[in-house]
Amino acid sequence: MKQTSETGGEASQDPSGSASPASGRVAAWKLLAAHPVTLFSIFVLTCIVVVALAAPWIAPYGVNQTDVSRALQPPSAAHWMGTDDLGRDVMSRIIAATGTSMQIAVASVVFAFMVGVPIGILAGYVGGLVDAVLMRVVDVMFAFPVLLLALAIVAILTPGQLTTMIAIGVVFTPIFARVARASTLSVRVEPFVQVSRTMGTPGWWILLRHILPNITGPIVVQTSLSLAFAILSEAALSFLGLGIQPPYPSWGGMLFDAQGFMSQAWWMSVFPGAAIFIAVLAFNLLGDGLRDVLDPKQRTLAELRRKR
């Protein structure tokens, strides 16, 4: 099942990109490019990724290097974002945590995507009993508040980076399943699918060739939004002490450490908080931009605007 969706995911790029100009419509990326907010969010995300990848080289100090004699220093030339209660450089830790946060967000969303999308497509396309069973399972998972379910998963496994990825991935799986199913339901009754079916095309080929490419839009948007929420969830878990374990830095964990020093060391909370804010906002704005472009209705509006 994973295999199917992987190939499917790649295949989906082509139709949406190449088919559009052929139909005389504006290419998706051109619409995106015309949208300054989206462009900006892409720029910010690129910066975040660069920072995450280059962390070991650009962090000015050792991540876990303590020096109590320099504890709680306000931002200065030596420590741009100040130092924390153990004398560690806040900026170095934020930079190091960027990579961790991104890894967890991407890995957990990929997990949710790989599991959720195939479930959703299968349920939507096959229908009947399969649909009923799969969707009830998804409903049960939906019944738990997101964080509660994640907490339960972490409580069963031991806290750590892998567990955090699994917990967030599992929590987001039903969302992808539902989005994929809803889109599949509308696509499978389209004439071209019906025709393909009457021609005797095997089910898996229809799923791969006809269904998946045509539900890409909502799923891509969902992926971007999920990345934002995955970052938030990771921060929440780490804040509660169930995500990344000390001494390794995470934005949420740094906020937790900072709460005892709110009145004395604002830099300990403001900078990690700003990091979370920026990353989440960037993914959200990107998601919004993508939706405008990929959702047929919004897209028509955008195209009209463009023509005018």
Partner: protein
């Protein structure tokens, strides 16, 4: 484990500021009738797990129970044992029979009389049910009621620390049989103490009401309300805004400013608690004493103390604090990474990843763990820190599922409390698995030696071997930090961190 750390609110310090509370003249005659008595609102760091003094091991429980229950004898502010429910006692010439004469004017909060049967029942409950404090009766052969107000305790060998075992803290409280048998004791305890429980709202507060018939006289306060505020800065805000009158949950980083402040009374006094590192001696590479010693040289105690207590704690390489009559000077270990490196090379240790068991319920363990991880990194240790809740922590410790851990022991009085259970090969709290026949012999001798200076020598020798071989790597003695509004009077901070409100006053 037998004597569980009473929990811990962390932070310590040392500056004997003793009783410099408000300067108010205090009316101690107990005539509550004419005083406009008020209810004191106290904020403690967490909610008691239960209120059965014999079964709980949480410090939060004892903060409340200290005011509800009495023991036969009780420690005064110098931790010397004074009469409480027992008015007087005699020790036979062979040192094997202790006879306690009880007060005859004491009644439980439910109105029933307190008599010698209650003492026998309470002690037998602890012994027969093998409760956490049963080890305190290891030397006791029998507890008998000679008449309604006389109790005789027979011991198998001279037991110089019997009084501190019987009265060191409220875990040895005298309970009411009826209260225990009905099962109410865990939520609605009936004691003989200066306050009685009037209401308990789980998750919210515990309200106590003065017991006008207490043997030490009626308390000045009409009652005490305990609320639970786990976050120190929140507790501090509550104290500053006047929502509460008293708290022991004070952010250590603010202590320096607060001590000088006029609007609040904050006291910092040295405590008898200590925090330590222990390594799992049953596993490699910790079975080699040189590796443990290397850790003792590698840790930066000063940095740890600064980080966990803002300098309020006192560095100590043994358990007993400097103020105690049992103190031994010892400074074998300095922060010396080269020596640590040398010892590790000698032991043939070549690096590896280790698990540090901390717990988020004692945040100082997590803070210190991060410093220690940094200290050990250059030596080739890759330290991963786990921080489960305390009950999981205890399970992990007791099943030997750790490489290194940090914890503290609270409420110690007698040197036996400090060393026996932790380092005797049969000790109930020897989770690290330390075995040394010499130490065993010394600790056993200390239990029966009645001459105080000989006894001090025995413990001094044992303690030095323990530290030399790094059964524990001792870190520091914390301070007791408590604060209250200036309207509170006649309250005394105690080095055993017991919280007694029976003489406390509160101006409206």
């Amino acid at each position: 484990m037998t004597k569980v750390p009473k929990s811990a609110v962390a932070s310590l310090a040392l500056l004997s500021l003793a009783a410099c509370s408000t300067g108010e003249s205090v009316d101690l005659d107990g005539s509550a009738d004419e005083v406009d008595s008020a209810v004191l609102r106290a904020a403690i760091g967490g909610e008691p797990d239960q209120l059965d003094p014999h079964r709980t091991s949480a410090y939060f429980s004892f903060q409340v129970l200290e005011n509800i229950f009495d023991t036969l004898v009780e420690p005064d502010e110098n931790l010397e044992m004074q009469p409480a429910l027992a008015e007087s006692w005699e020790l036979s010439d062979d040192q094997l029979t202790w006879t306690f004469h009880l007060r005859d004017d004491v009644s439980f909060h439910d109105g029933s009389d307190f008599m010698s049967d209650d003492v026998v029942y309470s002690y037998e409950r602890i012994i027969n049910e093998e409760l956490a404090n049963a080890w305190r009766f290891d030397a006791v052969e029998s507890v008998e009621a000679l008449d309604d107000y006389t109790v005789e305790i027979t011991v198998s060998a001279p037991t110089p620390n019997l009084l501190s075992n019987l009265g060191g803290f409220k875990g040895m409280a005298i309970v009411s049989e009826e209260n225990v048998e009905s099962g109410d004791i865990s939520s609605n305890p009936v004691g003989t103490g200066p306050f009685l429980l009037s209401s308990y709202t789980s998750g919210d507060q515990i309200a106590l009401e003065a017991n006008p018939d207490h043997w030490s006289g009626s308390p000045e306060l009409a009652g005490v309300e305990f609320s639970f505020i786990s976050e120190p800065s929140t507790a501090m805000a509550a104290l500053t805004s006047g929502e509460v009158d008293w708290t022991d949950n004070i952010p250590p980083q603010q202590v320096e400013d607060l001590v000088d402040s006029d609007s609040l009374e904050v006291e910092v006094i040295p405590s008898n608690d200590y925090w330590y590192l222990a390594m799992n001696i049953n596993e490699e590479p910790w079975d080699d004493a040189r590796v443990r010693q290397a850790i003792a040289y590698a840790v930066d105690r000063e940095a740890i103390i600064q980080a966990v207590s803002y300098g309020t704690a006192q560095e100590n390489q043994l358990a007993v604090p400097e103020e105690s009559i049992w103190y031994t000077e010892y400074d074998q270990y300095a922060n010396d990474p080269d020596e640590a490196e040398r010892l590790l090379d000698e032991a043939g240790f070549s690096g590896g990843s280790i698990e540090f068991l901390a717990t988020n319920e004692y945040p100082e363990t997590v803070t210190a763990a991060q410093i220690i991880a940094d200290n050990l990194e250059p030596l080739g240790f890759d330290v991963s820190i786990s921080q489960p809740d305390f009950s999981t922590w205890l399970d992990e410790q007791n099943s030997g599922n750790f490489d290194m851990l940090m914890m503290g022991w609270l409420g110690n009085i007698d040197p036996d409390d400090f060393y026996y259970a932790q380092h005797h090969s049969d000790g109930g709290s020897n989770a690290q698995g330390y075995v040394n026949d010499d130490v065993d012999a010394l600790l056993e001798a200390g239990r029966t030696e009645t001459d105080e200076s000989n006894r001090a020598d025995l413990y001094s020798e044992a303690a030095q071997i323990i530290a030399d071989e790094a059964s524990y790597v001792y870190l520091y003695n914390p301070a007791v930090i408590q604060g209250w509004v200036p309207e509170v009077g006649a309250y005394q901070v105690r080095s055993d961190a017991a919280i007694r409100f029976r003489d406390t006053t509160l101006e409206e």
